[in-house]
Subunit: 211 residues, 4 copies
DNA sequence: CATGAATGAGTGTTCATTCAT
DNA sequence: GATGAATGAACACTCATTCAT
């Protein structure tokens, strides 16, 4: 009766509260800086309850990030990229616009998970490997393929594809980090901002005169 | 022979080893993830010796970062920027080139300190405020002024200066992070890489046709 | 069988053992001279268990003395004194006799707590203030009122009441300290001893010829 | 030239400052509650300097109290008592008066040493034994002999001499402790106070009617 | 004579984790 | 299913003490 492997229905009420509390605590204080006691307090459960569901603090971190990586990040990316890849985008600009919109949406949907991921990545080799294998590598591969297609079509300057990807990624990350984490409360004219960023990328990466 | 009471010669041998060990440990494991005992072991001194010189673990962090921020980062930036600001750079491109070279040099000189700073900034409000006031704000001000000058000269597109600064900063950081932290061992053709990044920025931020 | 949620039954077994061990350790070695590890060893629990119930060593001291001061000392004194005050004692002598009996009984019931109190009072301003406000002041007030009544009745010499109180207190304390702490194992003829102490006080404080 | 073994002339300047600092620190915080670092700071010397003169913290305590016990307490008492004993005091009252004056004078001359002694006695068996053998026992012996003489002369009630001594000691200590330690700043009419305390003792210990 | 530098052994306290109920 | 009780190991930090200079 308790075995209904529906997606997030197997989660107890307590389990959900624990995950929610852990996300907040890890995002605010970092993994090492967060005590399980604090998570328990935030979740309103006993400390022991945490260990009922997550065999260790580390497993709690992975259990918190895992779904966000595999179910949300991974598939989400695939889902969002696949059509991107298969669909023949009318132009490089349209592709950039779609990609940025999708990335912004993802970070806005899970800002604390993204924050935790970014904060713990430097300290956690396993996490790093996981992300590398399950997110970074496939994403990069698809990105490279796309860029090369646009290059063949003469829409993008003929630089090494990884460099082009890095230019795009840097610009997008700079915008997103500022928009979501650094100055989320500022008055942003998102439409104008996005327009210009896209323009910046399109111009910067246009074939133009031979570099 | 033991009487050379000069500036940074007042530091005990042990003191230097402690700072060095702390830098490594904090860079690798983060502040919260590093035990003072571990620092002591790395430095080859007793744990108590650490507290002879640094009243607390936190003071050790600040004592490690402080000089790097105030003496190296802050002034260094001022020093490196002031000529940039006053000197009439022949072109926007020359300015970008000089700035990138200087930023890369700084990060290469203190990669672990930069790493620690980036890692602890999200968790340490005081550190954040310090950086904001002593590094970020003045640097941003100078950057904005510069950009506006280039805009008046018609070398840079007439977008909000903060946006332009962010485009530059994002691109530079993307390059530096990759070059120094993510793939330092890869075979880089730095000259070509830098040339293209500068080109990317110049083109992307050129006045061009009205956006 | 494990559900007897009565007053002092809420205390865990370990909690009781900790308090008992702390009382012994503090009485023998003083507060500053006692390590929490020693208390843990005496109580047969882990050191961490102490801090489950008492957030700090100091709170353990207060938690140990508190009940002895508020529930036992304070009220006990009030209880024992109120009837004394209201009841018309047949004589000053009868009053002294009752008071001494009551004081001796109290110290005998809690010799180690009294000892700890006396030992830590000089070092602990907060404790001192607490005792002053909750024990010393009210007790002194009642004592003074009583003495004044006996003076009006012509049973006690017409000296400043505080002086009279001090003579009584000094004599009682001298007896009790010797009897309970210094030479508890000596062969005492308590009855004779008490008789003479009371006689000493009655004679010494009798109106007599004008002083 | 530095070897003039005159009494307290052998003491270095630093040595004196250390002793003075230790007396203050021990009196205020107790022996266990005082760090040698604190003593060094108060004395204005390096911590190591303390250990040049006193092989251990404990020896410092003894070195501080020793002179006060042997040179001041012990001999002083003997000196002050011998005449008392040999001289035929005109009366019991005159004896009490002389004794109290001498005791008050001593405590006023060395209040912090007396305080330290009282505070550490419960924790320090060796100290206790020393005091017992060198101060308490001889003093008690003399006191008993004196009391017995006064009893034979019919000036003092025929109770066990130890009891009589305790009555005197308790009363004196009660007065001194209040006068010197508890309320030293209060406005005291010392003459009247002393007169009454003496009267209290003389009356209380007078042979009177058979007890 | 005096000290700055250094430390091993502890200090009170917190940690993630276990387990009987 | 959830917890209160308990803990060994680790934590940052302090202690009295040593020693070369």
């Amino acid at each position: 009766m308790s075995r209904r492997p529906r997606a997030n229905d197997t989660l107890t009420e307590a389990q959900k509260k624990i995950v929610e509390a852990a996300v907040n605590a890890f995002a605010e204080q970092g993994f090492a800086g967060t005590a399980t006691k604090d998570i328990a307090r935030r979740a309103g459960v006993a400390e022991a309850t945490i260990f009922k569901y997550f065999p260790s603090k580390r497993e709690l971190l992975l259990g918190v990030l895992g779904p966000a990586i595999e179910q949300l990040v991974g598939p989400a990316m695939t889902r969002s990229m696949d059509p991107v890849l298969s669909a023949t985008y009318p132009s490089f600009e349209a592709f950039l616009r779609a990609l940025l919109a999708e990335r912004v949406a993802f970070v806005r949907a899970h800002p604390r998970l993204v924050r935790i991921l970014a904060q713990e990545l430097p300290f956690d080799a396993e996490l790093r490997m996981g992300i590398l294998r399950r997110v970074y590598a496939p994403l990069l591969a698809k990105g490279l393929a796309l860029i090369e297609r646009f290059q063949q079509e003469g829409q993008v300057v003929d630089w090494p594809a990884p460099l082009v990807v890095r230019c795009i990624a840097s610009t997008f990350m700079g915008y997103i980090v500022h928009r979501v984490f650094i100055a989320p409360d500022a008055a942003w004219d998102d439409q104008a901002e996005v327009d210009r960023i896209i323009t910046f990328l399109v111009r910067g990466l246009s074939p133009g005169q031979p570099a």
